[in-house]
Symmetry: C2
Subunit: 340 residues, 2 copies
C-alpha cells in the first residue's frame, strides 16, 4: 500500500504562526471560555484558516480516550428500510459532531462480534445495533465499554438496555384490527423463526388482535433461517408452500416487507396460480411507493430514528426506551391486485 503523508499542518504550526502556545490554539479550537483575549482568538483563527488546520483525531482520541466515531451495526443493508434508518442516523450524528461507521453484520454473531471488537479498539463513542443478534461480545461490551443502543430489535441477551423502535406489539394488533375491518376472513401469516424481539412481538400482537376479536387465527407459515437465508427467501418459500397446498388465503400478512416481496415473486412464477391475495407487510420500505404499489404496510418513521439515536446517546436517562409512531399505509386491498 503506497503510503503518503496524511496531513500537512499540526497544532504546532498554527501556534507558531499565531505566535502563541499550542495550549492556546487548542483552547480556541475547542472554544474554552476565558482563556484567551478576543485579539488572540482572532489571530489564532486567522492562522487556522491560513493553514486550513483541523485537529488530527488520533491525538485527540488518545488524550480523551474516546473518539467521535459511532458504530452502526446493521443486520442487513440489502433491506432498503435499514439503509433509510442508517441514512437518518448518519445525518443526525453528523449534525452533532459525530461520525457514523456503518457495518453489515449479515445477522451473524461472529461478524457482529468482530465489528464490536474493532469498534471498541477504535474507542467508538457508542455502538448502535440496528437488528442485534445474541453474541458473546455483546455481553462483554455492555459491561465495560461503549454505550449500546438497540434499534428495532431489543437486546437479545434479555438485559434491560437502551431501545428505539415502534411498539411492535401494538402494531401487530393494529394489523389484525385492520384485516378484520377490511373484511378479510382467511388470513395467513408468514414469519421467520428468528429470535428477534421485533418479529416475536409483531406475531404476538397479531395473534392477540385476532383472538380479542373472537376471529379465527391466521394460518401460520414459519420458515427457519436455513430454509431461506433472508426474508425474501422466507416469503418466497412460504408462498410456494401455500400454492402447493392448493388452499390460498385472502390476505397474506408478512412480518416484513421483504417477506411480501418474496411471496409476490412466488406467485408470479407459479404456473397458473390463483389470484394473489392482498398483502400487508411491516416497515413500508421506501421502494414500495415505486415498485410495490399494491403492498399495504406498517410504516416506521425512518426519518425520526436519527434524532432518537442522538437523544438516546445525549440524554442522561440510563436505559432510555424510545417508542416511535407507526402507521398503517393502505394501498390496495383487492385480491388479485398484484397480478394485474
Amino acid at each position: 500500500m503506497a503510503k503518503r503523508a496524511t496531513q500537512s499542518g499540526s497544532i504546532k504550526d498554527v501556534a507558531a504562526l499565531a505566535g502563541v502556545s499550542i495550549a492556546t490554539v487548542s483552547r480556541v479550537v475547542n472554544g474554552v471560555a476565558n482563556k484567551a483575549s478576543d485579539e488572540t482568538i482572532e489571530r489564532v483563527r486567522q492562522a487556522i484558516a491560513a493553514l486550513d488546520y483541523r485537529p488530527t483525531s488520533a491525538g485527540r482520541n488518545l488524550r480523551q480516550r474516546t473518539s467521535r466515531l459511532v458504530a452502526v451495526l446493521a443486520a442487513n443493508l440489502a433491506n432498503p428500510a435499514m439503509t433509510a434508518i442508517a441514512a437518518s442516523a448518519e445525518r443526525a450524528l453528523r449534525e452533532n459532531g459525530l461520525v457514523m461507521v456503518l457495518c453489515d453484520t449479515h445477522d451473524e454473531p461472529a461478524l457482529q462480534d468482530e465489528y464490536m471488537r474493532e469498534m471498541v479498539a477504535q474507542q467508538a463513542r457508542a455502538i448502535v445495533l440496528l437488528g442485534a443478534v445474541d453474541s458473546p461480545m455483546l455481553r462483554k461490551v455492555r459491561a465495560t465499554a461503549a454505550p449500546l443502543v438497540f434499534v428495532n430489535r431489543r437486546d437479545p441477551t434479555g438485559a434491560e438496555s437502551a431501545f428505539i423502535g415502534i411498539d411492535n406489539r401494538r402494531a401487530g394488533e393494529d394489523v389484525a384490527a385492520w384485516a378484520l375491518a377490511r373484511g378479510f376472513r382467511r388470513a395467513a401469516l408468514i414469519h421467520p423463526t428468528t429470535a428477534s424481539s421485533a418479529t416475536r412481538e409483531r406475531v404476538m400482537g397479531i395473534v392477540a388482535g385476532f383472538t380479542a376479536a373472537g376471529a379465527p387465527l391466521p394460518e401460520r407459515f414459519v420458515m427457519s433461517p436455513d430454509v431461506g437465508g433472508d426474508h425474501l427467501e422466507t416469503g418466497f418459500e412460504a408462498a410456494r408452500q401455500m400454492l402447493g397446498s392448493g388452499d390460498v388465503p385472502d390476505l397474506i400478512i408478512g412480518t416484513s416487507d421483504l417477506i411480501a416481496f418474496g411471496a409476490q415473486r412466488a406467485w408470479r412464477e407459479w404456473p397458473a396460480a390463483p389470484p394473489m391475495p392482498a398483502m400487508i407487510g411491516f416497515d413500508d420500505s421506501p421502494m414500495n411507493a415505486w415498485l410495490a404499489p399494491h403492498l399495504n404496510s406498517v410504516r416506521i418513521p425512518y426519518a425520526a430514528y436519527g434524532q432518537a439515536i442522538v437523544d438516546a446517546l445525549a440524554g442522561d436517562v440510563v436505559n432510555p426506551q424510545i417508542v416511535l409512531d407507526h402507521e398503517i399505509i393502505e394501498r390496495d386491498t383487492r385480491i388479485g391486485a398484484t397480478d394485474r
Copy 2:
C-alpha cells in the same frame, strides 16, 4: 453524553503480565520476525488472550500517522446497487484488515467536502468515491492527502485518477445493439443532466450504437436535477412528458434502473395510459429479480467491486484503471408486460 471507560487493558498490562517490555508485546502483536523467542512469543500470546487485549487504534494511528479506516463516500445509499457495492467493499476491506466508513454525500459537493475533511482528519488510509461530484476538497486532497479511488464515475475534475467501473461506453453500444436486434424501432432515452462520466459515456455509447447501425436515434428526455432530485423522480417526470405528448415509444432506455422505476410509476398512475413500452436500465439493481420482473438491465458485477477496490489500493500501479465486465440481463421484451 455519558462517558465511560472505553477499554480496560493497555499494552502495558500485557507486558507486565508476560514479564516483558512493551516493545516486545508490540512486536509480537505485529509479527515482527527474529525479535522474540518462541517461548516469549507464547507467553505474550497467553497474556494477550488472558486480558483480551487489542491495540487501541488511537495510539497506533498517532504513531503511524495513518489509520485503518477506508472512507467510502457514496452518492446515494437509497440506490440498492450502491449499497450492494458498499457491502462488497466492506467485506473485501475487512478481509484485508481495513475498516470501512460509509457515508452518503447525497450528490452534494458541500457534503462531500465535509466528509473528505473529516476523513482526512481521521487519517483515513484511502477515500473511495462511489459516484463523485466535483468539489474544492477533491482537488486539495488529491494533491496532498489520502489516496483517492473513483468508482463508477470518473474523477470529475478531469484529472487522471484511479478508476473502477464497467466500460460504460461499450455498455451503451451493447444496449443499442440489443434494442435493434430485438426489433425495437422507436426507442426513447431518459437520462439526467448530471455531469457524471457514467451517464455521459452511457449516452454516448447508445447514440454511437444506433448511429453505427444506421438506425434513427432514440428521442431523448433529459431532466435537470432540479426537476427531480433523484433518478426516481427523473424517470417519473420524463415518462409523464411522454404520456402527455401522446406519442409513446416501444422501448424506454434509462441510464439507471431507478429511472425505469420512476417511469413505471408514471405509467401506472396515468389515467388510461397506453400499454407500457418495454424497458431497459443500467445497474440491474438487486431488487429487480424480486420487484421489477419485466425490467431488462445491464448488470454490473457488484460482488467484484470489493476486490477491485482492494487491488487498486494495494497495487503499486499509480492510477490503476480497473474495468469490470457487464452483461445484459434480458427479462421481458414485450410491450405492455409491465402493465399485466
